[in-house]
Symmetry: C2
Subunit: 333 residues, 2 copies
């Protein structure tokens, strides 16, 4: 497998001109309903009806962030979209548009990049209808790299920051906890060669045997609509769960100057993975006491006076969570 | 030279946590006057006072886009900022903010990344005061890669597209033509080892002997303020000169359904380099007949009925310009 795909006769990025490649890719991309001037000029122009816009940017790099033995082009487009959409939702905004910069090796087939475009289209259609790709850049590089910037519309709401949680608030999450981490664990345990290197041949049976966890890892489905719902329900703090519940909860506690106490009885049968697993891309939020939790939010703890993270009332010492610099093993797979 | 720099004892990206690295880098970045919510949350929130915003994104990749033997960290931050600011200006907008995603090898010193931040700050201060970095992402990668997204405020003006040039319009440019290409040519001719590989030791004397052209290549100074000036003066079409005057003029001609006739007597002593050289990052614009050209704009031709590019009245057959896919030699230097 890998990026060269199965059709060796296909035209590659190194053979096509930038213009030819873009002519094939652009029609597959999702359209944004916020577009005033779309792709093809020096820049796009987007509507920002309430006089503000939300912006976030995130890279996905071959090696530390994904393995081509396990992720196809549609998966990668999907995940690059979903993770950025989730950051927009976590401010309480509705995602409106993306710009996408891709750097890929010259031997990448243009057809493979069309698959990436399909992933962006499918993710926007399912997770954030009306959101689309309004511009981008396509470069050659020795390392396949995606850099996505996402925009959102607050629709007049106050942005929900990490810093607003208050003692007594309900702590709640929306979206699955620990599934993406469990998926990565099973891939590294079973979808590898004897050497430990990712193995595309073993991947299919592993994915079939563990569709929920592997799916959560490769095509996360963040509860995007719950971000604006939480803001409308008065959420006092919110963030995207990207580095594991424990680490992300600690961030909210630190930013808000409070303690957060998580209740493991609410975290399902594998509370350890729910606490430590990264890449959930669910939403973590605090709500005033008595709030009827909106959408898929469910209570997982409470905000207390004090500082730092508690679990079942006890200070939680583990660092927890994923740090890409400290943990990448150098492989690309 | 290269990315590991001269201070081998310095802490590297692979040794620092993301949080530590960002804590050192963020204070050096320029501030944006459009910031409503700044760095540190899931996303930033920016003001878009006229209910719209301009957005563009561009990558710089080690190898095809720059060589570390010739560009230091301040140069790279500067150039990544300047090229994106120029795309915003070419719509007639005032640049307001940038988000910056950087992927760098684990052995990159954090101090080197501080230099990149300094480059962003210096470029914004000189080229687009009030514009700043409002968010970003820092990743590890085998290939040093910058992905910048820039935003602009149209201040109520209509965006100036490529497609509005009309027969009879004045064709004008602002900014130097061919200097950046001449700089790259002298670097490849003289600042190299006998093998042709970029040579940091020879670079200093070459840069000292050719400060204008090498400076135009490594730290371009696009005439950012002339973008909004052109829009205010009624420019009918405008674009950033990134791939050489001939190719970019042809793009405006095609988008506008007209012919553009360039007058080589206006292009200085080396008209060939002015026509073909890439990375000028000046502005190309069409203005209605009789317009008093604003700022640094000067007449270089006229729009005619017809199609395609003419030079001194004769159809110009050469393709002209730079295509990164077709022309990268695979080296990184």
């Amino acid at each position: 497998m890998g990026i060269s795909g199965s059709d060796a006769s296909a035209i590659t990025l190194g053979q096509a001109s930038e213009r030819e490649a873009l002519r094939r890719i652009f029609p597959r991309l999702p359209q944004s309903s916020a577009t005033l001037v779309g792709p093809g000029d020096d820049a796009a122009v987007l509507a920002a009806p309430d006089g503000r816009f939300v912006v976030t940017t995130d890279m996905m790099v071959h090696g530390p962030d994904f393995r081509l033995a396990w992720s196809g082009p549609v998966d990668l487009g999907w995940k690059a979209a979903a993770t950025n959409l989730s950051d927009v939702a976590a401010m309480g905004a509705v995602p409106t548009a993306l710009v996408v910069a891709i750097a890929a090796p010259p031997e990448t087939p243009v057809a493979w990049l069309e698959g990436v475009a399909d992933g962006f289209r499918e993710a926007c259609a399912e997770l954030a209808p009306g959101c689309g790709v309004v511009g981008g850049d396509l470069s050659v590089s020795a390392t396949l790299t995606f850099a996505v910037t996402a925009f959102g519309d607050l629709e007049g709401r106050t942005p929900v920051l990490r810093s607003g949680a208050r003692p007594g608030d309900i702590v709640a999450v929306s979206g699955a906890l620990g599934q993406a981490a469990a998926g990565l664990r099973v891939l590294f345990a079973e979808a590898v060669h004897a050497s430990g290197e990712p193995d595309a041949d073993r991947f299919a049976s592993v994915a079939a045997a563990h569709p929920d966890t592997v799916g959560a890892q490769l095509r996360p489905r963040p509860p995007i609509a719950d971000g604006p719902r939480a803001a409308a329900s008065g959420a006092t703090a919110m963030l995207d769960l990207s580095d594991g519940l424990a680490l992300d909860a600690r961030r909210v506690a630190e930013a808000s100057g409070v303690a957060i106490d998580l209740d493991t009885s609410t975290l399902g049968p594998d509370a350890a993975t729910a606490l430590r697993g990264g890449e959930d891309h669910g939403l973590f939020a605090a709500f005033p006491p008595g709030t009827e939790l909106p959408g898929g939010f469910r209570r997982v703890g409470v905000v207390r006076e004090g500082q730092g993270l508690l679990v079942d009332g006890v200070p939680f010492g583990e660092r927890g969570g994923w740090d890409p610099y400290l943990e990448w093993d150098g492989g690309q797979g």
